[in-house]
Symmetry: C2
Subunit: 152 residues, 2 copies
């Protein structure tokens, strides 16, 4: 087993888990007490950050090990948990690229983070173009349909 300690926490106005409409949510990410403010030095030079977080509200019994229809929508094919980005996954980890709006000491302000209030953050990385896909991205039609209202 690997032991992980939260490095920050999310604060925003979204207290309930919702599937869609995350685009307008603004969040504060504030460092945990054991980390120094200097661990964020220079992050303002990046337009986007990658936020790695823990879906702490997911119950162990909900974790999906069998292939299933994403969002239980029978119009979508049955796919494995590693072929979708749903939260009920082994290790309960989420990764999202958020827009960095600003920094105030130990806190970052971001938009486009799909994590609810109180979510533990376990890593923050700057987005570099060199770490984006380096060839054309292809994905199945169901995933485009599923995402259609996600950021609206």
């Amino acid at each position: 087993m690997i032991e992980i300690k939260p490095v920050a926490y999310v604060r925003n106005t979204r207290t309930a888990v919702e599937d869609d409409h995350w685009g307008a949510v603004q969040s504060e990410i504030t460092l945990a007490d054991h980390l120094q403010e200097s661990s964020l030095a220079g992050i303002e030079e990046f337009s986007h950050i990658e936020v790695l977080f823990y879906f702490d509200q997911v119950e162990d019994e909900k974790i999906q090990y069998e292939a299933r229809h994403p969002r239980n929508n029978p119009a979508y094919p049955k796919v494995g948990i590693f072929a979708q980005r749903g939260k009920n996954r082994p290790n309960k980890l989420g990764i999202t690229v958020a827009k960095l709006v600003g920094r105030n000491g130990r806190s970052l302000t971001v938009t486009g983070l799909d994590a609810i209030d109180g979510t533990p953050v376990i890593d923050i990385k700057p987005v570099m173009k060199e770490f984006l896909p380096r060839s054309e991205v292809k994905q199945p039609a169901w995933s485009v349909d599923l995402m259609s209202a996600y950021w609206e």
Copy 2:
């Protein structure tokens, strides 16, 4: 503390940690025994996957809490660990988008994964365009310089 269990392991020919030249490395990612093959069902429909892994070779004493020059290069500014993607970071977590070359049962073949042989994988997610940056990516000049030979 959060407990994490590896879901897969990396196999490739790179046994030593190196800073650069990861582009040509081909890796196999094979599911851990407690996971079913169906957890990968449908992943072949995606061209790229996001691989979340654990830098298990990093010693705790090496973890960086103060701002420092990336790669100890004095030509680069001192930045905090959350403003760089180096491995000596709290929680020792890496995230990389790799190209999915193929699947054989419980194993995925990928290129462009910057993890050495034996690295534990703690999550696999499909890359969807909707989760890529949705506005222009800006980053400091030092990070472009640092990445210049990374994938070559």
